[in-house]
Structure formats: structure tokens, C-alpha cells
């Protein structure tokens, strides 16, 4: 089959407008060890929205606060202040019981597929657990069928049902993690570096899977990553974080073709391009005495 290289218009372009997740003035502070009363702001007044059906990339270097932001959104850690609204209901300040429902609607996919799955459970139980707890599908046979459907959605086979995580490679485990998240029929997937620990050839498979979920199931994705190339491939819009602050947010083209913030430009300029001729030009620019870290 010839590769499809031409970008198609977004099939749900008209649907991408409704706000699904709204984060307003989010702050997370930690006490500084050894210094009484002094606080470190891991997340500093961050506001953004994620629209239904879009993939928003949240990028930054280690320590930029991107993962902390994601965890505050799901209230896996309690934000110091700020407001998070998911599908019209308040996440910040809701009760533990309401939180259960919030977390069903916003499912997390983790970076490390090795530690995210219980090694003693079979794949079918890993995926069915949430369905059973939330009573989403009644009856053993119907549940089994749902699990088989989910496996198929993420590109695994029904004969994988009775195996345990140790029988799978990193990429397949990540597929299991995604199936488990999808099992709860969430409105949004929050993915924290989901391809960072995968081999290059496997990373592309998982990125394609996320793209399919977005375009075929209309899934909304908040995609946290340090790798600007993977974010560019998947995300419609990109938010850039630096030292706890959001320094720039825009559409993919705005960020990658015409970044305004110097930090964004510096990040993009540092990503290696698998093209020796281009790299020679960029290297010469970096070595030039008046190089300011801008794009070449």
C-alpha cells in the first residue's frame, strides 16, 4: 500500500470547539526542604483549555512542571490553588466520591509500561477490572466481548487474553495500558511520556495508535512529553512549559513554524533532525560566535 503522506483535513474540524477540560490559574507549591516557610512553585499559575476531540501537547524539559500539572488535573496530587473543570463539572474541590467519576472520565496512560501493569494479573483481568468496578458492562460474557473489542482497538489479538504482562514487549504493554484506560470510556486520555521508554520502531506504532484513537474514536488527548518531534506528529496544539510556567501555547504550525517565545525556539532548534545536510547548516549556526540559540 502506498504511504499516505498528504495531511488530510481534520475530519472532526467542526466538532473541535467545545471545551472539555479547563485549567485556570493552577498552582502547586512544595515546601523547600531545610528552609522553613520557603515554598517552591512546581506549577506557577498555569491556565489552558483542551477542546473536545483535539490532542494538546504539553512539552517542557525535566523539572518544567509538566507532569505535576497533569497530576494536579487528575488530583492525583492536590493543587495548592487554581481551578480544574472537566466536562462541566468541577474537579478541584469535589468530594472523594465525585472524584471517582472524574477519574473514570480522565484516564491516565503512564510512561513506564513495565511498572504500570500488575505482573500477577492476566491481561483480560487488567482490562476488565475497571469495567467491573464501575459496572460499565453487565454480565461475564458481555464483559469478555468488550475486552476482546478493546484489545482489537489497540492492535492486540484475542489470544493475548490469558497472558500476563511479562509475556509482552514494551510496546505491547503500552497497548495494554491504553486498552485499560479506554475500558472506562473516558472523555480524555492524559498520557505522561507514553512513548519515551519505547524503541524507535515501536514508538512510531504507538504514536500511530494515538492518532487513530483521536481520529477514529474522536478521543481527546492531553499528551505530556519532552520530545518535540513526537508531539508535533500527534498534537493539534502545543503548550510549552518552562520552570513551572506556561511560556507559549499555540497551534502546531504556530509553535513549530513561527514560535514567538525564545525558549520555544531554543527547544526546537536543539532537536536533532535526521537529515545530515540540514544538521550541518544548524551546527554551523550554533558554532557561529554570535549564535543566540535561535532557529536556523
Amino acid at each position: 500500500m502506498p504511504p499516505r503522506l498528504v495531511a488530510r483535513p481534520h475530519p472532526r474540524a467542526d466538532a473541535v470547539s467545545e471545551t472539555l477540560l479547563e485549567v485556570t490559574n493552577l498552582v502547586k507549591e512544595y515546601p523547600v526542604r531545610g528552609r522553613r516557610g520557603e515554598m517552591f512553585r512546581a506549577v506557577d499559575d498555569v491556565s489552558f483549555v483542551v477542546r473536545r476531540g483535539e490532542a494538546l501537547g504539553l512539552v517542557g524539559e525535566s523539572g518544567s512542571g509538566k507532569s505535576t500539572t497533569a497530576r494536579c488535573v487528575l488530583r492525583l496530587i492536590e493543587p495548592t490553588s487554581g481551578r480544574v473543570v472537566l466536562a462541566g463539572s468541577e474537579v478541584t474541590g469535589c468530594s472523594q466520591r465525585e472524584l471517582r467519576n472524574v477519574r473514570r472520565q480522565a484516564q491516565l496512560v503512564f510512561q513506564d509500561p513495565y511498572s504500570a501493569l500488575n505482573p500477577r494479573m492476566q491481561v483480560k483481568d487488567i482490562i476488565a477490572e475497571g469495567i467491573r468496578i464501575h459496572g460499565l458492562v453487565k454480565g461475564g460474557e458481555a464483559r469478555r466481548q468488550r475486552v476482546i473489542d478493546l484489545l482489537e482497538t489497540v492492535g492486540l489479538r484475542p489470544d493475548h487474553l490469558n497472558r500476563r504482562p511479562s509475556a509482552f514487549s514494551g510496546g505491547e504493554r503500552q497497548r495494554i495500558g491504553i486498552a485499560r484506560a479506554l475500558a472506562l470510556e473516558p472523555q480524555i486520555l492524559v498520557c505522561d511520556e507514553p512513548v519515551a521508554s519505547l524503541d524507535v520502531s515501536i514508538q512510531a506504532q504507538i504514536l500511530n495508535l494515538f492518532k487513530d484513537l483521536k481520529e477514529q474514536l474522536g478521543m481527546t488527548i492531553l499528551f505530556i512529553a519532552h520530545d518535540l518531534a513526537t508531539v508535533r506528529h500527534l498534537c493539534d496544539r502545543v503548550a510549552v512549559m518552562e520552570q513551572g510556567r506556561l511560556c507559549e501555547i499555540g497551534t502546531r504550525d504556530q509553535i513549530y513554524e513561527a514560535a514567538q517565545h525564545p525558549y520555544t525556539r531554543e527547544l526546537i532548534a536543539a532537536v536533532p533532525i535526521p537529515d545530515p545536510r540540514r544538521e550541518r547548516v544548524r551546527l554551523a549556526a550554533r558554532r557561529a560566535p554570535d549564535a543566540t540559540g535561535g532557529r536556523t
Partner: protein, 343 residues
């Protein structure tokens, strides 16, 4: 067997290689028989050359580097690795230690585990010189100078700091300084930037590049990321399942690869510029486990160009008729004459 790398570069064949690896095989004994991690690998590193070795997990790239440095334990190593008149495979532990400290510098992925947490940075950078008998004051002066060159600001004061007081990027600079202080001719760096942020990665790679130029150093850079080799390496060797799949100068590898695995790797890389493809072209399946390699070419179950012979015989790494560089593929000739198979 003739060496494919020499065969490929007839014009420069008279240059004596700094490191000449021939038919290197490394196997580990496991519960169910031997597991071969590196299988018949040959290559040269010439003086001042920057060679990139790229491969995914299980490709054998790190075991290859470690076996050259005499750092793998409990493995059977066959073949030879000639370096300055010494066969590193046959050399005894004392000679290897000497070579590692002075003639070959090495930099590994995790700078924290390469540094001793209870000794100052200064002590650790000076040590390779002290071992060689250089006087204390002189050694300290060289170390100070070098730390400045690798970009440690206020080096005189920071020499008395401990590793935990440095950031990841600064630690890797210290490790590079340690590798360089005895003025080796060759540096082997295994994933030196994998743990680093993208801006720091660019700085560390630029630094290695600059130091290699200034000090007439040869560098072997081992990585899973073809992208970083585009700007760094002059020659690239692609490994898969313990074997060399393709070797070429960097431009030939990126612009006219004749190996389906390399082509697949290149196509599956997302990029920060140019067109964004709707879908990335992927290599299906996953790399084989070294203990359960398929018959024939190890890539055959994932290869889109597979033919019958691929399932039966391992292809030789050789230059196909009319080709520009060696590729271990039964269809290398066809790929060389059918351009544009994959973008």
C-alpha cells in the same frame, strides 16, 4: 573472510586504523544454551574519525562496546579488536585497565553511576593522571584546564564539589573531562546524552564534536537515535540482533540506504520540520530476543521486502554490484537500483 569496511573504502585503505575489530562474537551462557549478543561484527575506526553505531535495545551495540573495553563479565568473546598493536580481546586485565585509563576514554549513559559520590570532582578528574605518575600540581592544573574546556564555569572552585552538586548535563561534562584527561586517541561513548534534556544534549554533542576536532580524537558514539548521528557522525554502522546490517558514510546512509531495516528506522522517525505525515511508516512487530533468533536474516519477520531466501540464509554484509556501501540484505542490489522505495 574479507573485511567489508576495508573493501568499501579502497581509496583510503592505506590509512592504518586506530581500532580494527574483526569477526567479534560475544555470547553469554544462559539456562537454555548460549545466547549470542554480538555476531561476527567487523569494523575499523580510523584516527580522527567519528563513527556512529545505532541500534535498538537488544541489538548488541552496548555489549559490543563493553567487550572491546574488556568490561563484559561471564561472556565468551571471540574474534579480535586490534588497538595500537594490542588485541583487546586477548589482553589481560592489567593491560586493559591501562588502556582504559589512558588510551581509550569512555563515557556511558548515566554520569551519576560513572562518578564516585564520595570523592570530589577534582579528585576524580585528576586520578587518571596521578595513576600515570603525573605530579600532583601538574595534574591538578591539567584537570582544571580541561574542566574549563568542557564548559564547567568557575572550575577552580567547583573542583572541590561532589557529583551530587552538579546537574545532569554538568556531570556528563565532568565524565567527558575524565575520559579526556589522559589524552586518549579514542573515545567510546555509549548513549552519552540519553538521560539529558534536549538543549543539554545538543550542547554535549557539540562539545564532543569540538573536542574531537581540536584534539584529533576518534569518537565511537553508540546510540538508539539516528537523529543525533546526522549531525555528529562521519560514518554510521547500523546494528540489529547482534549483527551489522549496513555501514556507510553518513550522507549515504541517510539519503541512499540499501537496507530495509535502516529505511524503516528512518521512516519511523517523527521530525520537527518538513511535512507531517498523516501516519508514520512503521516497522511492524518487534526486535527478536537474542535467545530466540529467527532462521536466516534476523530482520526477515518484520521486513516488507522479504523473499524466500531471507528465511533460510543470513545475507553477507557486502557491497552489492553497483552499490556504494555494504548492506547485509539479499535484496540490497535490488534496493540500490530501485530508488524511492520508502520516503
Amino acid at each position: 573472510m574479507t573485511s567489508p569496511t576495508v573493501q568499501a573504502d579502497e581509496a583510503t585503505a592505506e590509512v592504518v586504523p586506530l581500532l580494527a575489530v574483526r569477526n567479534l562474537k560475544v555470547s553469554f551462557r544462559a539456562a537454555h544454551g548460549a545466547v549470542r549478543a554480538v555476531n561476527d561484527v567487523s569494523f575499523d575506526v580510523r584516527p580522527r574519525e567519528r563513527l556512529g553505531i545505532v541500534g535498538e535495545s537488544g541489538s548488541g551495540k552496548s555489549v559490543l562496546a563493553q567487550s572491546i573495553l574488556g568490561l563484559v563479565r561471564g561472556a565468551d568473546v571471540e574474534g579480535s579488536a586490534e588497538f595500537g598493536g594490542t588485541d583487546l580481546v586477548a589482553a589481560d586485565a592489567a593491560r586493559l585497565r591501562e588502556i582504559r585509563g589512558q588510551e581509550i576514554g569512555y563515557v556511558f549513559q548515566d554520569p551519576l553511576s560513572a562518578l564516585d559520590p564520595v570523592r570530589t570532582i577534582g579528585y576524580q578528574v585528576v586520578e587518571p593522571l596521578r595513576v600515570r605518575g603525573v605530579r600532583k600540581q601538574e595534574a591538578r592544573r591539567s584537570a582544571l584546564d580541561l574542566l574549563g574546556q568542557v564548559g564547567i564555569k568557575d572550575a577552580a572552585r567547583r573542583m572541590d564539589d561532589y557529583p551530587h552538586q552538579f546537574s545532569g548535563g554538568m556531570r556528563q561534562r565532568v565524565v567527558i573531562a575524565m575520559a579526556l584527561v589522559a589524552e586518549p586517541q579514542l573515545i567510546i561513548a555509549d548513549e552519552p546524552t540519553t538521560a539529558l534534556d534536549v538543549r543539554v544534549q545538543a550542547q554535549v554533542l557539540d562539545l564532543l564534536h569540538k573536542l574531537a576536532d581540536e584534539r584529533d580524537l576518534a569518537v565511537v558514539l553508540i546510540t538508539h537515535d539516528l537523529g543525533i548521528l546526522a549531525g555528529f557522525a562521519e560514518k554510521i554502522m547500523v546494528m540489529y540482533a547482534g549483527r551489522v546490517m549496513e555501514t556507510a558514510d553518513t550522507d549515504s546512509l541517510f539519503y541512499s540506504s540499501i537496507n530495509p531495516y535502516t529505511l524503516g528506522l528512518l521512516a519511523s522517525l517523527p521530525r520537527v520540520e518538513g511535512q507531517t505525515p498523516q501516519r508514520l511508516i512503521t516497522i511492524g512487530g518487534r526486535p527478536p530476543s537474542p535467545s530466540a533468533l529467527p532462521e536466516g536474516c534476523p530482520f526477515n519477520p518484520r521486513c516488507r521486502y522479504v523473499i524466500e531466501v531471507c528465511r533460510e540464509t543470513m545475507p553477507k554484509l557486502e557491497v552489492p554490484p553497483g552499490g556504494s556501501h555494504p548492506s547485509a540484505c539479499h535484496r540490497a542490489w535490488w534496493l540500490a537500483h530501485t530508488p524511492g522505495q520508502m520516503p
